[in-house]
């Protein structure tokens, strides 16, 4: 039982790292970037290339994936995304679907359509007993990394000057601008960090989820669910939403395998019906 909970938490944590950047940038600029998964894919494939082709250690891949996706993010943001801030949501959706298509075809061209598999270093393989639960070492590693990241993010947002400016900008961009906060700059930085986190999530997920070119589309739905449940005003909302989603998905498939696939969608629609602003938004807004 505990093992299932543990797996669910690990899966949820991974989803959180993958999706958190999207939540914050959505809240910040009210921009729907469905192509967020493409940044995760970039990180995942970088890991594949670094490990399988260049033979580098998995541990090097994680920071590299972060940096790679972050740079990619900032370049695209400056070059393309910023032209779309004042367009309608529909335009943004179409634009980012277009980007997804391009990313999928590019990866297909460069890396082939087969799923790429990453082999973990021996130190991360195997299973250990914790509190009577039999858990995979790698999942423990994922939880540890994601947990640290979450605490780190929370710290940055709650305690630093950048964090307070970010919060102000998310709360009300117009007022923040009026106060002389460089919302555009904050956004570019947040976008980069968010993309970088997605890349890191892709790298972390590569050994579990296997990378193939349809990754951004496959996970887009999960991101949307995280946002719609968690809201976009804080990072605690998406965090709890991700954990809830991970646990519900894993437990659902474990206990009722026949209808496991339904559970997450049902949760999403139920939340949107009863709490259209998200499940965790109000509590998170104090």
């Amino acid at each position: 039982m505990l093992t299932i909970l543990f797996d669910g938490v690990a899966y949820g944590m991974l989803l959180f790292v993958l999706a958190v950047g999207l939540c914050v940038t959505l809240g910040l600029m009210n921009f729907i970037n469905l192509a967020h998964g493409a940044f995760a894919m970039a990180g995942g494939y970088l890991t594949v290339v670094m490990m399988n082709r260049m033979g580098l250690s998995f541990y090097w891949c994680l920071p590299a994936a972060f940096l790679f996706s972050a740079v990619l993010g900032v370049v695209l943001e400056r070059a393309l995304y910023r032209r779309l801030y004042d367009k309608t949501h529909l335009d943004q959706v179409l634009f980012s679907i277009g980007l997804i298509f391009m990313a999928m075809a590019t990866v297909d061209y460069a890396m082939g359509a087969s799923p790429q598999i990453v082999n973990l270093p021996p130190s991360l393989n195997g299973r250990i007993e914790i509190l009577g639960a039999n858990v995979g070492v790698y999942r423990l590693f994922v939880i540890a990394i994601c947990g640290l990241l979450t605490i780190g993010l929370q710290f940055v947002i709650a305690k630093t000057r950048f964090g307070s400016r970010l919060r102000a900008s998310v709360d009300d961009g117009r007022v923040a601008r009026g106060l002389g906060i460089d919302v555009t700059g904050i956004f570019a930085l947040t976008f980069a960090v968010g993309s970088g986190l997605a890349g890191l999530g892709g790298a972390l997920g590569a050994p579990i989820l296997s990378m193939d070119p349809s990754f951004p589309l496959k996970y887009m739905i999960f991101f949307l669910i995280v946002i719609s449940i968690g809201g976009t005003t804080t990072i605690t909302g998406p965090f709890f939403a991700s954990i809830l989603l991970g646990v519900a998905d894993v437990a659902g498939k474990y206990f009722v395998p026949a209808i496991g696939g339904f559970i997450i969608y049902t949760i999403m629609v139920a939340v949107l019906i009863f709490r259209p602003q998200g499940l965790f938004t109000r509590s998170a807004k104090r």
């Binding site: 093992t3 299932i4 797996d7 899966y11 399988n52 297909d108 082939g112 359509a113 087969s114 799923p115 790429q116 598999i117 082999n119 393989n125 195997g126 299973r127 039999n134 995979g136 790698y138 999942r139 050994p207 579990i208 989820l209 296997s210 193939d212 070119p213 349809s214 496959k218 996970y219 998905d249 894993v250 437990a251 659902g252 498939k253 474990y254 395998p257 026949a258 496991g260 696939g261």
Partner: protein
């Protein structure tokens, strides 16, 4: 302004059509190959096309005085596109036969078209038993899931497994495999504790695997479509099922030759049953593997690639037998009962069911020359699909 757009559309349509406009020639016999070249199943499509092209490259494109032309179409894995391509290939390109079909629904979608037009359709991949019953013009050179699952069920029962759990992808072939496995395993005195089905588009197998693990069976039988197998095997290893003394077995799909090296050493020793291994010892297979690798750098032929090869072979031989007559019914009749040596070993088209009869091997994953291979160590000769009555 709308008129202009119509004009533009019409001109564009015409421009688009030039590329596929039928260029009829009496000397040419066309074969339509409908493969999935984009989307999640793209890897299988490329194997198939590579196998078919390789056959033509090594055996020339002249058969019975006719030039064979292969027309490749991408169905993107969507059934109505498969159907439209089939219909257009038959009606416009006047192909003598169509071939391909990476998934069962894609094959089933063309059944009414080939029956109506009396066009042979050679199934190179899809593996649900029922397909060949849906039209008298289906001929299968690949395999059926029950055909692959029954031998491993027997092997498992013989090797001391009393209980088993099966985990398959939730679609036609998976259910076929699961049922055939259960049937034979229980005939041999075993007990299948639970039949688990994971959604076809499922990235996370861990809850299903955990459930299988918690049921503590002697054996876990797995089947998923080839491109997903890598991810599943990773999670099987990661979940520590082997350490829990559960014997992981399955059909060869999960140790797909194309991906085996990517999965890594952790699958060493895994036992599967399948009709093809790139390590098959015959001279023909060694030549096939070598040429395939030469023509497609970075790829290693798998059972789908060999299906592409044999599909072309079946057509070549049938056309020879009819002396170049491309009448669909005659071609299908010519294929019935045909026997030949494939890179996989000897195979026959069952004259009754038009389904493939072939040897099924029990193999173990081993390392050879620094690469992982499925090494065959036992064989069940000339297996018929057990589901056909």
């Amino acid at each position: 302004m709308i008129f202009k757009s119509i004009l533009a559309g019409a001109v564009g349509l015409a421009a688009g059509l030039q590329f596929t406009a039928p260029a009829l020639s009496q000397e040419t016999v066309k074969v339509g190959l409908i493969a999935t070249l984009t989307g999640p199943q793209a890897a299988s499509g490329r194997q198939k096309v590579a196998g078919a092209r390789l056959y033509m490259q090594l055996n020339g494109n002249m058969v019975a005085g006719k030039k064979i032309e292969l027309i490749v179409k991408d169905d993107t894995g969507v059934a109505d596109v498969t159907r439209r391509h089939a219909q257009e290939l038959i009606v416009n390109d006047k192909v003598a036969a169509i071939a391909g079909f990476s998934l069962t629904p894609l094959a089933l979608a063309v059944a009414p078209v080939i029956t109506q037009s009396k066009t042979p359709a050679i199934i190179m991949t899809a593996g649900t038993s029922v397909i060949t019953e849906r039209s008298p013009y289906f001929v299968r050179v690949s395999f059926t899931l029950p055909q692959q699952s029954v031998p491993i069920a027997e092997w498992a029962a013989k090797n001391g497994a009393k209980t088993a759990v099966s985990l398959v992808s939730d679609y036609g072939p998976g259910i076929d495999a699961q049922n055939a496995f259960k049937m034979r395993f229980e005939e041999q005195g075993g007990k299948v504790l639970e039949q688990l089905k994971a959604p076809l588009a499922n990235p996370e197998f861990s809850p299903f695997l955990q459930r299988a693990k918690d049921l503590k069976p002697d054996a876990l039988f797995l089947f998923v479509p080839a491109p997903t197998a890598g991810a599943l095997m990773k999670q099987v290893i990661d979940r520590g099922l082997t350490e829990a003394n559960i014997k992981v077995i399955g059909t060869g799909d999960i140790t797909d030759d194309d991906q085996l090296n990517g999965i890594g050493d952790s699958v060493l020793g895994l036992i599967t049953s399948h009709f093809y291994s790139a390590a098959h010892g015959s001279a023909l297979n060694q030549k096939f593997v070598a040429e395939f690798k030469k023509a497609n750098p970075g790829m290693r032929p798998n059972f789908i690639g060999v299906g592409g090869w044999d599909g072309m072979h079946a057509f070549y031989e049938a056309l020879k037998k009819t002396s170049g007559d491309t009448d669909g019914t005659k071609l299908v009749d010519a294929m019935k009962g045909a026997t030949w040596e494939s890179p996989r070993g000897m195979m026959t088209i069952d004259p009754e069911t038009r389904d493939v009869i072939q040897d099924v091997y029990i193999r173990k994953v081993e390392k050879k020359d620094g690469e992982l291979y499925n090494i065959e160590f036992d064989v069940v000769k000339q297996v018929k699909d057990p589901m056909h009555k």
